[in-house]
């Protein structure tokens, strides 16, 4: 990684071992700091900082309006920090690192940390929000029409696309004639000037809303039935497409016993803060629960639940084989072809390059699907071409071979590209010198070219390994983890840990983000340890080479 190619003078230092100060002489650092300020530099700086200030002010208004003071504080601190950083003459490395790091923190680190934190909760379907939200959901879901419920003329409308946009109810109060708009958040009265009401009370037009006609409404009748508008006395629900009623909630929360009581049957469900659910005496749970911290229970479940830990080892071994096979195979093939084409006597290398790179230019998700179809037993291209009748995805080893072959096809142009780049960076003098000294081409490759290639490419190889270790698309879009053994439909022969987790966490039982996050932390640990170890090994090698 170091300056291995740049000659004996700078090659001695081992950057990164310790804070190496010797690389840059003190004088040069001071010289940089005292370089004269140029007019262009100053102008660019003023413009960029001005833009930053402008964006910050633009972003601040909605924050103030929504009274999100923490967000505003973060924004102000970030902007002030940026101004300080680019106006001071110190902290030169930070000037180069901060722009990318800001994005990295906001859109990668924060989501990853947030995901990791959910591993300690029961976050998932039925456990999404707070306890209060769960209570509101239980109450509104239990709304029933009772004798004496108020009936409203109803129009269904949306602010978006009639086929997909979120729906609202436009209802007219039969007593006052006032028109209100209602969605899952509640009921809001509209300005009488903005709406047109037909005789009978039905709203026919409203500013800012598209009223669904009968056909549109009936095609979305399921959404309409499910829309419940909470009101002070209960909730509004539709009955048919043109009438709504204000019903009463049958189930209500009783703070005294910390339970939900059904006023019709008298049954109660007591809140269980451990699991974040309302549980009846006989163990029946209400579907709506809330998010609670469950400590290490998700991790314990991964290790002890036989359905999860049982096939773990076999899957892990195949996962390693897949990652190493994909990375190693693409690297060897890519490097071999790059070496073959890297010769001053070769004609037409440009043409070869254009054609070779084509698999990389094709959209990979589409090509995965195409490959899957090419492996089809009945009308797949592979079987047609070679006159075979192999059920490729039906047997363990043929399926494994097939997915690695697909990865090879998709991945080797990339390795070819970077290997070509790295080869061109190796000064010809080095390899020529070995020939002058009488080395055979193979010796020269092994002792000079390959080490230098590995210096440039080893971080990429590790990254490629890490990527393939979790290559969700490669499996999900081709074999979907199959073939599955007859006795276990959850872990297939080509399943990677990540697709296996996906099925466990998002599968038939509904989303269990907490559990999935816990498993992914396990996977992350495995990949990180493997990468860190191999990274250390390559570092040691590099020091030998430099």
């Amino acid at each position: 990684m170091s300056t291995s190619l740049s000659g004996p003078g700078s090659a001695k230092q081992a950057p990164g071992r310790e804070p190496v100060g010797s690389g840059l002489p003190r004088t040069s650092r001071t010289a940089r700091n005292h370089a004269p300020i140029t007019a262009t530099g100053l102008l660019v700086k003023v413009i960029l900082l001005g833009l930053t200030a402008g964006i910050a002010i633009w972003a601040a208004f909605p924050l103030v309006e929504a009274e999100r003071w923490i967000g505003l504080a973060v924004l102000a601190a970030t902007t002030a920090g940026l101004f300080y950083l680019y106006l001071t003459r110190r902290h030169i490395p930070a000037k180069y690192l901060v722009p990318g790091t800001l994005f990295l923190i906001a859109f990668q680190v924060v989501p990853v940390l947030y995901t990791a934190s959910t591993a300690f909760t029961n976050f998932g379907d039925g456990h999404r929000g707070s306890k209060d939200e769960a209570i509101v959901a239980i109450q509104t879901a239990s709304v029933k029409q009772v004798p004496g419920s108020t009936q409203y003329p109803l129009s269904v409308a949306t602010q978006g696309d009639p086929a997909t946009g979120p729906l609202v109810f436009l209802v007219t109060d039969p007593q006052t004639g006032a028109v209100s708009v209602g969605d899952a958040q509640g009921l809001r009265q509209l300005d009488p000037g903005d709406v047109t009401v037909a005789p009978g009370g039905k709203v026919t037009a409203a500013d800012g809303y598209t009223i669904l006609n009968f056909g549109q409404a009936s095609s979305r009748s399921k959404d309409i039935t499910e829309l419940v508008v909470p009101t002070s006395g209960g909730a509004l629900r539709s009955s048919g497409l043109s009438r709504a009623y204000e019903g009463k909630a049958v189930r209500g929360y009783d703070a005294g016993c910390d339970c939900v009581r059904d006023s019709e049957t008298g049954r109660t469900w007591t809140a269980d803060e451990e699991t974040g659910a309302f549980v009846a005496a006989d163990g029946e749970r209400l579907a709506q629960g809330w998010k609670v911290d469950v400590g290490l229970r998700n991790f314990a479940r991964v290790l002890t639940d036989p359905a999860i830990s049982g096939p773990f080892f076999g899957t892990l071994v195949w996962n390693f084989a897949f990652a190493i096979g994909s990375t190693g195979g693409t690297f060897l093939l890519g490097m071999f072809i790059a070496l073959a084409l890297h010769s001053p006597r070769m004609r037409g290398t440009n043409l070869y390059r254009i054609l070779l790179i084509l698999p990389y230019a094709m959209p990979s998700f589409a090509m995965l699907l195409v490959w899957r179809d090419m492996f089809n037993t009945d009308f797949g291209l592979i079987n047609n071409l070679f006159g075979l009748g192999v059920d490729w995805f039906g047997h363990d080893w043929s399926a494994r071979l097939a997915v690695i072959l697909v990865q090879l096809w998709l991945g080797y142009p990339y390795m070819f590209l970077v290997a070509t780049g790295a080869l061109q960076a190796i000064p010809r003098e080095l390899t020529e010198a070995t020939l002058v000294d009488g080395a055979s081409p193979w010796q020269s490759f092994r002792t000079v070219t390959l080490p230098l290639l590995l210096v440039a490419l080893s971080p990429l190889l590790i990254a490629s390994f890490a990527y393939n270790f979790n290559n969700f698309n490669a499996i999900h879009l081709t074999t979907e983890g199959g073939p599955f053994p007859a006795d276990n439909p959850t872990a297939g022969a080509t399943d990677l840990l990540i697709t296996y987790t996906y099925r466990l966490a998002f599968g038939a039982q509904g989303a269990q983000f907490g559990l999935a996050a816990a498993v992914s932390l396990f996977i992350f640990t495995i990949v990180a340890v493997v990468s860190a170890v191999s990274f250390r090994r390559t570092r040691k090698q590099e020091e030998v080479y430099s």
């Binding site: 300056t3 291995s4 990295l104 073959a340 699907l369 195409v370 000064p427 992914s520």
Partner: protein, 307 residues
């Protein structure tokens, strides 16, 4: 890698011994150049046959998977292409993809180059930790973070609709989050191969660190900027998971999201249209590759930097 071709030997013999018989000359040609062409041709065949299959499917007038052969036998038609534009918003998706991928790759190469310069040329506390964490953060299974990203952008959409869901700007910001990463490593590796004497002498002559970066380093690493730009462009145009969550309006979709919708339901029947879309999707990438080809080929630091 002149070493494999045995260049000095070849140079010494050309024309030196006129009596060499044709056979041995041909076999020497094969040992030095011919096998390279053989490897190249085989590799090209491996690369091209699935693409040929897609091409054949795209031209297949029946447009179904089961009727597609490697070479179109049942006649050729452009029905699938016209169907693609008539029945779907393919044109819009195409423009969206180009804009997003173009801007994202340009910006991320720039951010990456800035960071690579600092990592390669400066020594500061946290340098090694920074480099390692760049590598580590990539290893977290990204699709699980999607739930978090969705929640974050739900808030963003409420506050700033201009960079929220269904806008190219929000997706762009999201992609820039991944700007530092593998590409930074790749660039740092190439910055490292440039001799330090180059920028040190410039510093001695009174250049500021910014001038060293923009005037000396960037031009020298232009080839690797082109390569990483290409990689970023391809990565962005193929990105599916995030874009699928982010873009739900037909009008704002990218190619990957839109095309996936085509075959999500009936793959066999839509296969011809899907194949046509796949081919058209590849065109911008191939063009970008053509554009940066000369940089990749021109040899990285040849001339400017002697080992």
């Amino acid at each position: 890698m002149t070493s494999l071709s045995g260049a000095p030997v070849a140079g010494g013999t050309t024309g030196a011994v006129p009596a060499v018989n044709r056979n041995s000359r041909r076999s020497r040609w094969f040992a030095q150049v011919g096998w390279r062409h053989l490897v190249g041709v085989l590799a090209v065949a491996f690369s091209l046959f699935p693409i040929l299959f897609v091409l054949s499917a795209a031209l297949n007038p029946l447009g179904t998977l089961s009727s597609t052969e490697l070479v179109p036998t049942g006649g050729v038609s452009v029905e699938n292409f016209t169907g693609l534009f008539d029945r779907t918003a393919f044109g819009r998706w195409f423009v969206n993809s180009l804009v997003i991928a173009g801007v994202a790759s340009f910006a991320s190469v720039f951010l990456s180059a800035l960071a690579a310069y600092a990592f390669s040329r400066m020594r500061f506390t946290g340098r090694r930790v920074g480099l390692l964490s760049l590598l580590l953060i990539q290893m977290f299974p990204q699709f699980l973070a999607i739930v978090a990203i969705f929640l974050i952008f739900t808030t963003v959409t409420d506050l700033w609709p201009a960079i929220g869901f269904n806008t190219p700007w929000g997706l762009l910001l999201l992609y820039l989050g991944g700007a530092l990463g593998v590409n930074t490593w790749l660039m740092k590796g190439f910055f490292d191969t440039l001799p330090r004497e180059l920028d040190e002498s410039a510093t001695m002559d009174g250049a500021s660190h910014a001038q060293v970066f923009f005037r000396i380093m960037l031009p020298l690493v232009a080839p690797i900027l082109a390569v990483t730009g290409l990689l970023a462009f391809i990565g962005t145009i193929n990105e599916f998971l995030m874009a699928n969550v982010f873009l739900t309006n037909t009008e704002s979709k990218t190619l990957a999201v839109g095309m996936f919708g085509l075959v999500a339901g009936e793959r066999n029947n839509n296969f011809g249209i899907f194949a046509a879309g796949t081919l058209l999707t590849a065109i911008p990438t191939v063009l970008v590759f053509q554009l940066v080809q000369r940089y990749i080929v021109s040899g990285l630091t040849a001339g400017a930097v002697k080992g």
